[in-house]
């Protein structure tokens, strides 16, 4: 089997560091939410105030009684430590990846949709190909298609910056230096609610990302992200069930 270069060492190392940091942030973030699964809009919010919405979850603190008999164990201590340490790993990894990718042309070459592909139509066309399980028009074993490019650009330049921004806006010390970070979001509780929603958006990306990898060949794609090389033939497209002999 011949192989072609797929991912550079920089992309592979920063990808897996981001995976580790993001999963740690996700687990610890969920752990922190269950100590107060109520969300508010504006500057302040507490159990004496009406929430924007409230998650009917068992909680880890007795300030919230959601009707579950025994409260969840309180895991906020290590969750907070790990949340912020992982955030540092994520931010520093992202900085290295972002600066290097600007300099070496990775963004321009691999992520910005190719000329002629920068239309909504091109995106819909590729979605239709996925839905009809048609093989891609071009060999995608050494490059990203337009949907991947747009999704990765949104994650890198919209969702991660937003989740970092809304997270920093929750720091009372950081806010003392840069109050506009939280003020433009409408206040501390708005920032917390937005942080929660952007985290969900990133989680949805993760689910779809892993699902697409599973469909297109989990091990070959994962191997490519580890070794940097991919089989040069496109991964086989599963035939729809009704067409099978």
């Amino acid at each position: 089997m011949t192989t072609t270069p797929r991912h550079t060492a920089l992309v592979r190392v920063t990808h897996w560091l981001t995976v580790i940091a993001f999963l740690a942030l996700l687990v610890t973030g969920a752990e922190l939410v269950i100590s107060h699964p109520r969300f508010y809009w504006g500057e302040t919010g507490n159990v004496n105030m009406r929430p924007l919405f409230s998650l009917p979850l068992p909680t880890s603190r007795d300030t919230i009684n959601n009707g579950y008999g025994s409260a969840m164990p309180d895991q906020n201590g290590w969750s907070r430590y790990l949340h912020f340490e992982s955030a540092w790993v994520l931010v520093l990894t992202g900085a290295v990846y972002g600066i290097a990718s600007l300099l070496n042309g990775h963004f321009r070459r691999d992520l910005v949709p190719e000329p002629g592909q920068r239309t909504l139509g091109a995106h819909f066309q590729r979605i239709a190909q996925y839905l009809h399980r048609k093989p891609p028009a071009a060999d995608e074993s050494s490059t990203y298609n337009v949907l991947q490019r747009s999704a990765y650009l949104i994650v890198i330049f919209v969702l991660f910056p937003l989740v970092i921004w809304t997270g920093l806006a929750l720091s009372p010390a950081f806010n003392s230096a840069f109050p506009f970070f939280v003020d433009v979001l409408g206040g501390r509780q708005s920032a917390r609610t937005l942080h929660f929603f952007v985290s969900w958006a990133l989680f949805f990306f993760l689910v779809i990302h892993v699902a697409m990898i599973a469909i297109s060949g989990f091990w070959s794609r994962t191997r490519a992200m580890i070794t940097g090389r991919a089989a040069s033939v496109p991964a086989p497209i599963p035939t729809p069930i009704e067409e099978r002999p």
Partner: protein, 251 residues
């Protein structure tokens, strides 16, 4: 796999530069007090980065203050543990015998009554209490900045931390000098134009508004100046790391 000589030399140099850089960073961080007392665990690097980065940008910055109209109508105070006998006795006497002892590395140890503290220059601030759980409220806090008491006690120049203890022997904390002399760090006696209610830490609470609520301890009785946290508890800076919570809570 062959490794070229150039690659070997380059990576060798990069490693050496990395080690030298980290050593230099560690030395600078120690010299300028940028390493928190609870940095000895697996979470130490993250805590040190957070504390050092925030100290570099926030040494003199003020916590956000709000207009009077933003004061929460219904502030929320965590439910308290049943008060101990000492507290009950002091409360029965209208807190007339409450004392704030100031000791440690000071030239003039003090023992201040609430009346003494009321004599000191009073300030007020309308700031937000931010609980680590996620909830918050805004209130007006009235008291005297901690630096007034520290200046009267006349600290030794080598002081690095102010330790504060409460009526509960197992509830204590500490802050660095940037927070200890910060103009919004209050020995708080009043809230929203009244006396500070017991539910919110009355008669005396230390407000540290640039950190999470758990650093603003209720029922403060003693303030100790020190140049090292090693002698206090397990040496982690406060009781919080002993329960798994970070010493620095500027997040």
């Amino acid at each position: 796999m062959t490794i070229s000589r150039r690659k070997l030399i380059t990576s060798g140099l990069a490693t050496a530069a990395g080690v030298a850089g980290l050593t230099a960073a560690d030395r600078i961080a120690r010299r300028y007090g940028l390493i928190p007392p609870d940095s000895g665990t697996v979470y130490g690097p993250g805590e040190t980065l957070t504390y050092a980065a925030q100290r570099l940008i926030t040494r003199h910055t003020l916590a956000r203050e709000f207009p009077r109209s933003k004061i929460s109508e219904k502030p929320f105070g965590n439910s308290l543990a049943p008060p101990n006998e000492t507290f009950k006795k002091l409360q029965a006497g209208g807190f007339a015998d409450w004392r704030l002892v100031v000791d440690g590395m000071v030239n003039h140890p003090l023992s201040l009554s609430l009346a003494d503290l009321h004599q000191m220059p009073a300030h007020s601030q309308i700031t937000e209490v931010v609980c680590e759980e996620g909830w918050s409220y805004v209130a007006e806090w009235i008291g005297t900045p901690l630096y007034n008491v520290l200046n009267e006690a006349d600290l030794h120049p080598e002081t690095l931390y102010i330790v504060y203890r409460t009526i509960e022997p197992n509830l204590w904390g500490s802050i660095d000098m940037a927070d200890a002399f910060h103009p919004q760090t209050f020995l708080t006696l009043g809230m929203n134009n009244g006396d500070l209610p017991v539910g919110f830490g009355g008669p005396l609470r230390l407000r540290v508004p640039r950190q999470l609520g758990y650093k603003s301890l209720k029922f403060v009785t003693q303030i100790t100046a020190t140049d090292s946290m090693k002698k206090f508890g397990k040496g982690l800076g406060s009781v919080d790391p002993e329960y798994g919570y970070s010493w620095y809570a500027g997040i």
